[in-house]
């Protein structure tokens, strides 16, 4: 590649400026603000604030409800990650058998990726509508009277299902392209070496899919933790009573509904640490990501 030299030493910085400004305005500044206000007790009516040190953090950890939300977030994240990956894997393996590298199919499947998440989210929420949702009706016929937004477990179940449903297309596309990247002759060699298709999958196909899998694992955990806000909000119809919520939702709830800006900021600082740890793990994995050639 040809190396381009700028006339002025200032030019590259000017070119970088818009991006840096966006990072500063939309990330660094709010983050700094959150860290700052996590040390203050904000007057609910906006008449100034008092420095309280680590009290906000102490309050967060002392709150028994916080533990409950942490537990639910853990279960929720595990279920969403596990099921959305597992179901997408099954679908991708089936699709891989059919399409055999035909690019027409691949383009079609890309549409799933482009269109599905928002639409799928809406459809999923509709399915669980308390009054007209077919899933609710189906379970009712089976003797389970779901009470979304009222019963803790029913609501949690609906959240997991909608979040999984929404994430499957993304996982599907990545896993499918991962499968297509596995050398055909290696799979043929395995077909000769291993009589059992099931065993062949777990000993050859699955390990060769591992790099894609690690990558998706982090993506999915991040998704379940943070990007499911909308799904939860719609299902709870912004009126969470004794309902399951995730950590991110609690930040919003305490800060904007409960007007406890200090406590809410402390919680977001904790989440920032979680994101930081996930990011470090992800970079480590990508660095060490096994490159088979």
């Amino acid at each position: 590649m040809k190396k381009v030299q700028f006339d002025s030493r200032l030019t590259p910085y000017i070119l970088l400026l818009p991006q840096l400004a966006i990072v500063a305005i939309f990330f660094l500044w709010p983050a700094a603000e959150a860290v700052r206000s996590s040390f203050y007790l904000e007057d609910p009516f906006g008449f100034g604030s008092t420095f309280v040190g680590l009290d906000n953090f102490k309050d967060v950890f002392a709150d028994s409800n916080y533990g409950r939300v942490v537990r639910f977030t853990g279960v929720f994240t595990f279920c969403v990650t596990f099921f959305s990956l597992a179901i997408a894997l099954v679908l991708a393996v089936k699709a891989d058998k059919v399409i055999h590298g035909s690019s027409a199919y691949k383009t079609l499947l890309m549409w799933v990726y482009a269109v599905a998440p928002p639409v799928a989210g809406l459809i999923g929420i509709f399915l669980f509508d308390q009054h007209v949702g077919p899933i609710v009706k189906m379970f009712k016929a089976l003797g389970w009277d779901m009470r979304i937004g009222v019963n803790y477990n029913d609501t949690g179940f609906a959240m997991v299902v909608v979040a999984v449903w929404k994430q499957i297309p993304v996982n599907f596309i990545f896993l499918l392209s991962g499968l297509q990247g596995i050398s055909k002759s290696v799979q043929e060699a395995a077909a000769i070496d291993c009589p059992s298709g099931f065993r062949r999958f777990w000993t050859v196909t699955f390990p060769l899919l591992a790099p894609t899998g690690f990558f998706l694992l982090i993506i999915n955990i991040t998704y379940a933790l943070f990007d499911t806000f909308g799904v939860i909000d719609v299902l709870l119809k912004t009126q969470p009573g004794d309902d399951p919520i995730t950590l991110v939702y609690k930040v919003y709830q305490d800060g904007f509904r409960g007007n406890d800006l200090g406590g809410s900021s402390a919680q977001s600082v904790i989440l920032m640490v979680v994101v930081f740890v996930l990011t470090v793990i992800q970079f480590r994995l990508i660095e060490r990501r096994v490159h088979y050639n």
Binding site: S183, S185, V186, E188, A189, A190, A191, I192, D193, C194, P195, S196, R199, T203, V204, P207, L208, A210, V290, Y292, N293
Partner: protein, 359 residues
């Protein structure tokens, strides 16, 4: 060990491309068969049908006494060596070799014995703990061979296993494969487009062209009596000179003009006459008439070391032919030469079908 029988095997891809058009071959137990032909002639397709990696459109394949048309690749008791080796990238060399045995529930110590034995024969014992990506092309090739021999299968199938190696290594591995097959006596089917590889390895050659068999026979038989102009030009290097000839009152002649003479052998009025570069002798002008005598003008001399190839133009604007001459021979461009060939070295083919005319 087993025989392999192909009975009018056909392969049609996607209802349109007929890659193999009714091929029948009887392969004896322990025989080394080489399928050879130009790119796209259906060699790989045929081999992959034997392996079970490709469905058989019509016809029947038997391994031993068993019809295997509907048997899974893993249950055909065959092992295959692929062109790109197809090693399992996430397994060590040891596990690459052991994988096929483990899956068949073999005892650990027997697996170990076989892997160590194969590693010894192929001299890959030092790399058993490495992953394939840490091996050179030649070493990977050996591992791929090892994966086949530990299985002790009824048949080995090779799809151009040497074509990714450099020339020197290729010759070395070729000799090794031959030696290995002779000592194991395992029935083998080997696909290549390299006629030299085919000649040196085969007990019998199967020359394929456009999905059809052109000729089956021992290499020397195919070389001595090519069944068609296609085989004649494909087997042997440099290729056989093929000349369009007509006949007149005095015998053979070029269609285009003077420069060729010889007796009409089969009483027809048109032929394609073939003579190999190594069977043409440069003789002094005025020598007695041979079965075929050519007058030609030297174009270039191409020395390759052990011998040289002389390219010359026949008669006035006739076809260019190649003559093998000894390595230090000296010829000037434009020099007039006379060439002769003995009757047993001149092949005649039908001018229209290209099939050999005998007797």
């Amino acid at each position: 060990m087993a025989t392999i029988t192909l009975d009018t095997v056909r392969k049609v891809y996607g209802g349109a491309v007929e890659a193999v058009k009714g091929v029948s071959i009887d392969i004896a137990d322990g025989e080394f068969i080489v399928l050879v032909g130009p790119s796209g002639c259906g060699k790989s397709t045929l081999l992959r049908m034997v392996a079970g990696l490709e469905d058989i459109t019509t016809g029947e394949i038997k391994i031993g006494d068993k019809v295997v048309n509907n048997v899974d690749p893993a249950n055909r008791d065959i092992a295959m060596v692929f062109q790109n080796y197809a090693l399992y990238p996430h397994m060590t060399v040891y596990n690459n070799l052991a994988y096929g045995l483990k899956n068949r529930g073999m005892a650990k110590d027997e697996i170990d014995r076989r892997v160590k034995e194969a590693a010894r024969i192929l001299e890959i014992g030092d790399y058993l703990d490495r992953k394939p990506r840490a091996l050179s092309g030649g070493q990977r090739q050996r591992v791929a061979m090892g994966r086949a021999i530990v299985r002790e299968p009824a048949a080995f199938l090779f799809d151009e296993p040497l074509s990714n190696l450099d020339a020197k290594l290729r010759v070395q591995m070729r000799v090794e494969i031959k030696r290995l097959q002779k000592s194991l006596k395992t029935t083998s089917v080997y696909v290549t487009h390299d006629q030299l590889e085919a000649m040196t390895l085969a007990d019998r050659l199967v020359v394929l062209n456009g999905g059809n068999i052109e000729q089956i026979g021992a290499p020397i038989e195919v070389y001595d009596k090519p069944a068609s102009t296609f085989v004649a030009s494909f087997i042997g290097s440099p290729a056989m000179n093929l000349l369009k000839v007509k006949t007149d009152a005095s015998g053979l002649a070029f269609e285009t003009g003077a420069g060729l003479s010889g007796a009409n052998p089969h009483g027809r009025d048109r032929y394609i006459a073939g003579v190999r570069p190594e069977h043409l002798d440069v003789v002094p002008a005025g020598s007695p008439e041979a079965a075929l005598t050519l007058k030609a003008k030297v174009n270039v001399l191409e020395p390759v070391g052990a011998e040289s190839y002389l390219y010359a133009e026949c008669g006035d604007g006739g076809p260019e032919i190649v003559i093998r001459v000894e390595s230090h021979a000296h010829f000037e461009p434009g020099q007039e030469i006379v060439l002769s060939a003995k009757a047993k070295d001149v092949h005649f083919f039908d001018a229209d079908t290209g099939r050999r005319i005998d007797g």
